[in-house]
Assembly symmetry: C2
Homo-oligomer: 256 residues x 2
């Protein structure tokens, strides 16, 4: 079976990026649902689709329903949908596919990336993580992923949950640390560009061997004098952050 018709449930950040993508891939997007008419209309327009704000009125004859709503809303939304023989999949990293088990064929279609409004995602590279309750659903989700790129990966619920935690470290937590370091340079009237070659090298090195094997710095070598000096200079709002990460580094390397 070839995918012909897609309906998008959710018109937020991920939903609108998917609308643009599926349109570019020449899929027919039948409807875009959002509780907010304005949002539904905006994304529906991008996708050349109809806007819908009432779940009970969603078209029941699509091949695939992509649910890109907040995790907390997935079950409620799914339970209100009547989708005939269609396949339903959510785009969440953390939610179980069982939230969709009212339907016959369901799964996950999780693009592992951080999406930003008005910023073009690198779809050629993004791994699309798949899971499904049966072979037919998986096949269709895989077909959809393969039209995007060659990086489709099949994950279990458990693997996807863990991968999502790793993604929180890689994206949310690293972004926060970059924010802290930028606050420090700004406060000292220094250009943050000074740190860019170091960041580049840090990332590049981490891809040559396990980062734990390449750890350096005062925490790794137990240099309490430098740690204390740093704490005496660092804004108090970041003391616990600095100390906890340092202690975790020390413990990681004690265990070696």
């Amino acid at each position: 079976m070839k995918i012909m018709k897609i309906t998008l449930i959710g018109a937020g950040n991920v939903g609108s990026h998917l609308a643009k993508l599926f349109r570019e891939l020449n899929y027919e997007i039948v409807e875009v649902f959002s509780r907010t008419l304005e949002k539904a209309e905006k994304v529906a327009e991008m996708a050349n689709a109809s806007a819908v704000t009432d779940l009970s009125k969603v078209n029941a004859f699509c091949d695939i329903y992509i649910v890109a709503v907040h995790d907390d809303a997935i079950k409620t939304v799914s339970d209100q949908l009547e989708i005939g023989n269609g396949i339903i999949a959510h785009t969440s990293g953390a939610a179980s596919i069982e939230l969709l088990n009212k339907h016959k064929n369901y799964g996950s279609w999780y693009p592992l990336q951080t999406f930003t409004p008005n910023r073009q995602p690198n779809w050629q590279e993004i791994p699309i993580c798949l899971q499904a309750n049966d072979g037919r659903a998986l096949e269709l989700l895989l077909d959809l992923a393969r039209t995007v790129n060659k990086n489709a990966t099949y994950l279990t619920d458990r693997q996807r949950s863990h991968l999502h935690i790793a993604a929180v470290f890689v994206n949310n937590f690293i972004n926060h640390l970059l924010g802290v370091s930028q606050s420090i340079t700004t406060e000292q009237k220094l250009s943050n560009d000074l740190l860019m070659p170091l960041l580049k090298e840090t990332i590049s090195k981490a891809q040559t061997a396990h980062p734990f094997l390449q750890q350096t710095g005062p925490a790794k070598r137990g240099d309490m004098k430098t740690i204390e000096k740093h704490l005496s200079l660092l804004s108090e709002s970041h003391h616990e952050l600095y100390l906890t990460i340092s202690i975790n580094i020390q413990k990681t390397h004690e265990r070696e």
Copy 2:
């Protein structure tokens, strides 16, 4: 005055990279000091210099003495040196230049990068941070930096100390988080490559605006359900790390 002769005090990781660099820049490296003869000889050979293991015997007629030893050893080493009219500078991010104040002209020549044995540094990009106790020393240190690249920056002791803390966040702490995320994927028998597009986008985005303005994720949106789910899955050895960073993210955005 043009720099003709350099002596390197310290034959560790930074010392040996500097030996290679200065040699490539056609400086005459007169001596390489290390307490360990083997180390001194190894780096001296790279630099076509003499090895020396006794500080009291270090040649007193060099233009510049670069001290690349552990912070704790800087003062002891400096106090044992007799260097005539030469200029002495250390390569430390955290140590004050006053550790060198036994001498007439002293300062800091701090290449802001993480150095790895057998890995070529990107010298064209590395900011070299300078500081000196007087104009003559600064001029000479600047001359040396300018033969490396155009990124020489003058910093005060205070700015350098803060920049060094920012560097700990950017290098040591980010490296640790990358190690944790890799441990998670390895444990789940997943390729760590799955996270590379996300990492690339995280770093790329952080350069378009202040990272705090672009923070996303469960901590930022106060999504306790996801945080609790993550903690239930995450190895206990990383609970405090996850929680402390999450709380710091929340507090940062409360303050906004």
